[in-house]
Amino acid sequence: MERTSVNSETISSLEEKARQLRVDIVKTLHKSQSGHTGGSLSAIDMVAALYFHVMRHKPADPKWEGRDRFVLCKGHAAPALYVALAEAGYFPKEDLMMLRRLGSHLQGHPDSKQTPGVEVCTGSLGQGLSMANGLALGLRLDGSESRVYALLGDGELQEGQVWEAAMAAGHYKLDNLCALIDVNRLQIDGEVAKVMNVEPVADKFAAFGWEVIDIDGHDMKAIVAALEQAATVKGKPTAIVARTVKGKGVSFFENKASYHGVAPSDEELPKALECLGEQCNL
């Protein structure tokens, strides 16, 4: 893999940003007592790299034409997107405490009609990559420089529509598209490999005509380098296959399928924050 042009200071600051966002995820989910913990924590390093280093966007002008687009295909990881949007300034951080509540603009799954910075509605798995393709085709028609980033889960790859979309992205040579696959190896019913094996993920995308970059999805340097490399690929879309840990950062959440859709309890909150190097002063 090519080395990133980014200096170690930037990497450190992105790592710290990701740590803060993990704290926000844990606090937000604890407050709502509802939502998806494991998959939000596994994806947050990539989300942090995108929103605070790679993507061109203007939080004060969410519809700015020159922006890059982000599609959260694994919509249940909405908390990961919401904490990044709040941190970036799309809406006040206090709004996070209203996650999933009646009257909140933060729906259980991303809703483009309600949340500034959310591009499309996702949540029903398998549909996001198709929408990312459509965005990429539309932007290309307009001669736009903007890029499209789509974050998928590995369990989500069981949906046939993902492969229809993978085929189409390869066919239409969508080099303004980059898919990040959060391979955390767990889904609701247990191990992805046991429920319905999706591996070899990298080979599958490669077979559909994608450039594939296999990385450790928690290595910030590798994430940034992969995203930089993706932007240079011509004539085909890029898939970053990111090996991650579900629940990453909170030791007792890690690698547990049971934390897929369970929020931290009152007892778990201080321990979780401690794991993340944060004092609990609630």
């Binding site: 009609k113 549909q127 965005l135 229809e164």
Partner: protein
């Protein structure tokens, strides 16, 4: 009633015109562009036409993405595949975000013919109508299709337009304006009203003529838009004629008949009969044979008209 044109042909022609007028119009198809007539657009604007292959779910999602990028996507395939295979994608990726996508489904109903029940969509109006934010349009003829497609392009939001395969007579008034959500009275009458959509409007006009020879005066109200429903024209028909017969090339469950029954039973209950496919699948056969077999002929409508007038007079 002189000109005969297939609604899908009118669609292809209008789409090509719209492509000329508006650079934001893009078109997607799933390997049926010759049949859906999107090929007319594809030939003129190859860079704005995307053949998505035999993959309807992805086609719907791609259209949603194109809409999010500011385009006005029209996507087409047969009604059974658009509304059937694409249902949840249409719900989640199009209707939920109010995406500006037009689903123009051809080969609706039983008149697809010989391909049989697997290819005959008799449920699409019902399932599209059930989705919030969705507009559902079933034009009666070629000229109305042209106007409906233009209206759909001008409307901001998801629209489902159901078209047919075969040539149908022109029954609407060619220079009448088309407005989404507005019904049209095509024949006046006092004894009953036929409320119809799609190609059944022509059948109802013929049935009204049959009844006129017997001294029964039948009104014909054509509803090109099934959702939103034109309550005003229905209420007027129910109050003034006191009996309703709906007719559609679709299941009697949940389509036009269902919509009219829901509305009138709450607002002005009158005797009502629904003509359509009686909760069963289609069959192979020639279109005209199937129309006869499933009881969608003018004589069938006239018989329903006689019965309901008798019921009304009690």
């Amino acid at each position: 009633m002189s000109t005969m044109i297939a609604t899908r042909d009118a669609y292809g022609q209008t789409l090509a015109e719209l492509g000329e007028e508006n650079a934001a119009v893009v078109v997607l198809d799933a390997d049926l562009s010759g049949s859906t007539k999107t090929s007319v657009f594809a030939k003129k604007f190859p860079e704005r036409f995307f053949n998505m292959g035999i993959a309807e779910a992805n086609m719907v999602g791609t259209a949603a993405g194109l809409a999010a990028a500011g385009k006005i996507p029209f996507l087409s395939t047969f009604a059974i595949f658009a509304a059937g295979r694409g249902w949840e994608q249409i719900r989640q990726s199009l209707a939920y975000p109010k995406a500006n996508v037009k689903v123009v489904a051809t080969h609706g109903g039983i008149t697809v013919g010989e391909d049989g029940g697997s290819h005959q969509s008799v449920e699409d109006i019902a399932i599209m109508r059930a989705i919030p934010n969705m507009t559902v349009i079933v034009p009666a003829d070629g000229p109305e299709t042209a106007k409906a497609i233009r209206a759909a392009a001008a409307y901001k939001g998801p629209v489902y337009v159901r078209l047919g395969r075969n040539k149908v007579p022109t029954v609407t008034v060619e220079d009448a304006p088309f407005e989404i959500g507005k019904g049209t009275q095509l024949a006046d009458g006092n004894d009953l009203t036929f409320v119809t959509t799609g190609l059944m409007t022509a059948q109802a006009l013929a049935a009204a003529k049959l009844l006129a020879t017997e001294g029964i005066s039948a009104r014909v109200v054509h509803l090109a838009t099934i959702k939103p429903l034109d309550g005003e024209i229905l209420l007027k028909a129910a109050r003034e004629t006191g009996a309703i017969v709906t007719a559609e090339e679709h299941s009697v469950v949940g389509g036009l008949g269902g919509a009219v029954a829901e509305y009138l039973s709450e607002n002005c209950p009158v005797p009502l009969r629904r003509i359509g496919i009686n909760d069963r699948f289609g069959l192979s056969g020639k279109a005209e044979e199937l129309i006869k077999y499933f009881g969608l002929m003018p004589a069938d409508l006239a018989e329903a008209g006689r019965e309901i007038v008798a019921k009304k007079r009690g």
